[in-house]
């Protein structure tokens, strides 16, 4: 799957079939790129230019004021502190959630592939099928549980929730990866007297940086883009960036500043986009992991 196709490339570049092929691909690419282009162009125009011109035209006078405003002073309801608040909230949610969920899921995937116990496969099956249950079904009981634990509406609460809902896909990812490793490796380590944690930390983890990277990509984009859990479990003062963005853009009071809105939208999309463009094929591998079951 990761191998590039080998062999000589077809030489006939002017074959009519190839021309149609590339035209279709390019038209599709334009459709996909257009919203990004419009976002960037709108965010660099002044409001008068937006009212007069059209969304496709590049800015006559480039201004970065909308960006500054979106980051620093845009209003959500009563507070006018900009998106930066949401950015830092998202970071505070993101970092512990990613670390905790990956630690738990990797150990879990390891136990499921090398240390199976009675019923472990049953739990794993429920875990995977559970990931298809609509979140709405579990929301209210989870509110009760987190409230009883005293973590509802706090950073701990939202981290707890992300750890739970990240578990199925991450466990699947690690379990499949560890299961693909040779069993002899494991047996040899056991003969040498290594235990549960020893094998994991000294042998498997050092062998598995790629799968950890895939897991990080998956979790960073997933958690950053979350809206539903953030709005319910994080509490007003910890609202993640997506929630704040929606509040800024869809707030009903004041004049609509489309340039500020688009700048805010780009800023919110920037983190996952950056991850996506840097990670390239690993991202594809991450999302395909959900589809390819072992």
């Amino acid at each position: 799957m990761t191998n590039e196709p080998f062999g000589p490339r077809p030489r006939r570049m002017l074959d009519p079939g190839r021309i149609i092929l590339y035209s279709v691909l390019i038209v599709a690419a334009i459709y996909y790129l257009l919203p990004l282009y419009i976002m960037v162009m709108t965010s660099m125009k002044g409001m008068p230019e937006i009212r007069l011109g059209n969304i496709f035209s590049p800015p006559v006078e480039v201004t970065f004021e909308p960006w500054v405003k979106a980051w620093d002073t845009a209003c959500t309801g009563l507070y006018c502190e900009g998106l930066k608040v949401g950015f830092w909230n998202s970071m505070q949610i993101l970092i512990p959630s990613v670390i905790i969920s990956i630690v738990i899921a990797s150990v879990n995937g390891y136990a499921l592939s090398f240390w199976r116990f009675r019923g472990s496969e049953v739990f794993f099956t429920i875990l995977i099928f559970g990931s298809f249950i609509p979140y709405q079904v579990m929301l209210y009981p989870l509110v009760i549980i987190t409230r009883e634990l005293g973590i509802f509406g706090s950073l701990t609460g939202i981290i707890f929730i992300h750890t739970i809902f990240g578990m199925p896909i991450l466990t699947l990812l690690f379990r499949n990866y560890f299961a693909s490793l040779p069993m002899e490796l494991f047996k040899a380590a056991r003969v040498d007297g290594a235990g549960f944690w020893g094998i994991f930390l000294k042998i498997l983890v050092p062998m598995s940086p790629p799968i950890f990277v895939v897991a990080i990509i998956l979790q960073v984009t997933g958690i950053w883009n979350d809206f539903l859990f953030g709005v319910i479990f994080a509490g007003t003062k910890n609202f993640p960036m997506t929630v704040q963005l929606n509040n800024i853009v869809n707030s009903t009071q004041g004049v609509k500043e489309y340039n500020v809105n688009m700048a805010a939208t780009i800023l919110t999309g920037a983190v996952p986009l950056l991850i996506y463009f840097i990670s390239g094929k690993l991202f594809v591998r991450g999302i395909a992991a959900g589809a390819v079951k072992g």
Binding site: F129, P134, Y140, F277
Partner: protein, 297 residues
Amino acid sequence: MADDAKPNPYFKNLNAKVAAMPMIFTTLVVFVGCSLWTVIYSFSASRSLPVNEFVGFAQYDRLFNTSRWNKSVENIAIYGVVSLCFSLVVGFVLAALMDQKIRFENTFRTIYLYPFALSFIVTGLVWQWILNPTLGLQKAVRDMGWESFSFDLISHRDTVIYALLIAGIWQGTGFVMALMLAGLRGVDDDIWKAARVDGIPKWKTYLFVVIPMMRGVFVTTLVIIASGIVRLYDLVVALTKGGPGIASEVPAKYVYDFMFERGNVGQALAASTVMLTTVLIILIPWVYLEYGQKKRV
């Protein structure tokens, strides 16, 4: 390990059991426990707080007599069918085109897939701006001289669902394409050679040989998209807020609004139970297929 201790079966392999504790908690308490709780209390008379007064199907009765819920179901059905067909067909066609040993494959793939990295909130807000009737696409086309051009999807009740579809498809097709491409790469090269030797045209090979071979990929993709569609929420909140009126409401939003804003937990729980049932209807045939396949192999 605990091998040398007394052979108490519960302490055998103890470390693995400890390591699996979070999973056991998640499966038993959250996935099974919370779902059961929701199903049970959907039969209660709960208003702003859950109560232990059970009233049979009264909540469901009310639910299916609420125009907002019926509209939500209708919307998600239209959205689901159209976006499934569209993204499967377009996703497959794009993947097939990408599989023709083209140049710049990575560039094209990066472009098609990037929307998938974005939040539904971001997608919704961008399309809200593009579809803005006074300043967006409609105005741009009119300025180019086509005065009567009309593309005002979001402010009309009958067309707002297409606004959701455009945005949703823009975000999701790349993902389908990536899965399909992975599936196509898994097709044995000998199949292509054999088809070429027999002089079968390429499109016929795709239609009658490759697609049937990729049944597994199609079914899996279908299940993943379908269970995503049932959850559709963020996109609606960002793009239309359910409006105009109730024209673009969806079930997940009904649940959220009744649970957290209207203080009518009973209705919300009944609605989410209906969502759960829908997912089970999608899921059970799939599980059946999977097990069938495993037995044959």
